[in-house]
């Protein structure tokens, strides 16, 4: 189909898996940090803010390199984790980690907007009805921020799909294991005349983006449903 070989289809499947896992796995953390940034005042908030943006500001290769230093089997965290049997290096999980980290700033920023826009008066109303802060968060604040969460997830997913620099630096491109669509496209572009093969994968990316948009709009509509 489309004249793509099994390796390319494997890359497509892997990209989807990596992006979905990365997005879903980092989402709770992104929500937490976004809420922190939107609603709390604390020392070092500015620094946290900047740290969150860092993966966006740094060239992806650097992020990949830092990941390697940290989460590689020889790295501080990676060494510890590998004792626990959790290995990122040269696994699809590593690609997901890289994608998640690159997607993180986009998600946090978008979700934070939702928390900032949510009406504290409604939270007060819930509080008077006996809801604990945690219940208020779950039932009022988070639903109010849901459009932003969806937007953040879409941004994150898209970024994860397109992530290349950090991924190839951190986990290289082992076909079927860590070779994502972008790595495959990159590979094609390295040979003279590889453009048409690369173009097909670009097309696949576009279709996936369309799908992601369609799903997210559908969810958003479902969720927004009957609100004011």
């Amino acid at each position: 189909m489309l004249g793509l070989g099994p390796e390319e289809w494997a890359a497509v499947g892997l990209s989807l898996r990596v992006s979905i896992v990365a997005t879903l796995a980092i989402l709770p953390l992104a929500i937490w940090v976004a809420h922190l940034l939107a609603r709390r005042e604390f020392v070092g908030k500015g620094v946290l803010n900047a740290l969150v943006l860092l993966p966006l500001v740094l060239p992806p290769v650097v992020t990949g390199y830092l990941l390697l230093l940290t989460f590689g089997t020889q790295g501080a965290v990676g060494g510890f984790l590998s004792n626990l049997g959790i290995v990122f290096a040269f696994r699809w999980t590593g690609a997901a980690l890289a994608a998640a980290i690159m997607a993180f700033p986009l998600m946090v920023r978008a979700i934070r907007l939702g928390f900032e826009a949510s009406d504290p008066k409604l939270e007060q109303a819930a509080t008077t009805l006996g809801a604990t802060p945690w219940r208020v968060f779950r039932t009022i604040t988070l639903p109010a921020a849901l459009p932003s969460v969806i937007a953040g997830a879409v941004l994150g997913f898209a970024k994860a799909m397109g992530e290349f620099g950090a991924t190839i630096t951190f986990v290289a491109a082992i076909p079927g294991q860590t070779q994502t669509i972008p790595s495959a496209i990159y590979a094609f572009l390295q040979v003279p005349g590889g453009e048409s093969q690369a173009g097909k994968l670009v097309l696949v990316s576009l279709v996936i983006a369309l799908g992601a948009v369609a799903v997210s709009e559908w969810v958003a509509r479902k969720v927004a449903g009957r609100r004011a």
Partner: protein
Amino acid sequence: EDVVIFAASSLKTALDEVTKGLPVRISYGGSGLLARQIMQGAPADIFFSANEVWMDAARDAGAIRPESRLELLSNALVIVGHEAVPFEDMLASDGRVATGLAATVPVGIYAKAYLERAGHWNTIAPRLVETDSARAALALVARGEVPFAVVYASDAAAEPAVHVIHALPELPDLPIRYPVALTASAKPEAEAVMEALQSDTARTIYSAHGFGVP
């Protein structure tokens, strides 16, 4: 106005030293990228490629002056290890081997051809970790993330954290050459820089960085 050189990334250390004091600006990148850019009218005066394929492509596109082309440097492939283990042990082990994308990135293409010819490809292929550049592969070994890598001798020479455990013999029909040429739109001042790139001092520096100067 400064002379603009588009040079393969792997040349950076050597070339920075060679051109010290010269009125040049060097844009480093993958050879394929540089060639495409020159073909698209990049304001480069000199193209210094890490392989002949992309120089040929540029030539076919009329983007360089063929008469100025010179196969200035050569390189060799070596197998490096994080530890200095015997080559036999390396072959016998199941440790991963990093190198550039075997299908596309120059170092990977060479590695595949050289290993095939040496009869090691089938043992090594399943253990490959493919990267986007030779430097990335080297870094993996230097960090100890991957025990072995197939890289250029010049890279290996620059990295103290790796040990050369085997040098692959050069294939006469697929020599590793670094051609340099003036682009079609080269400024007149570029000729002098071309001279400087070939000077004896320059050759000494290249050698010191592990390149062959045929």
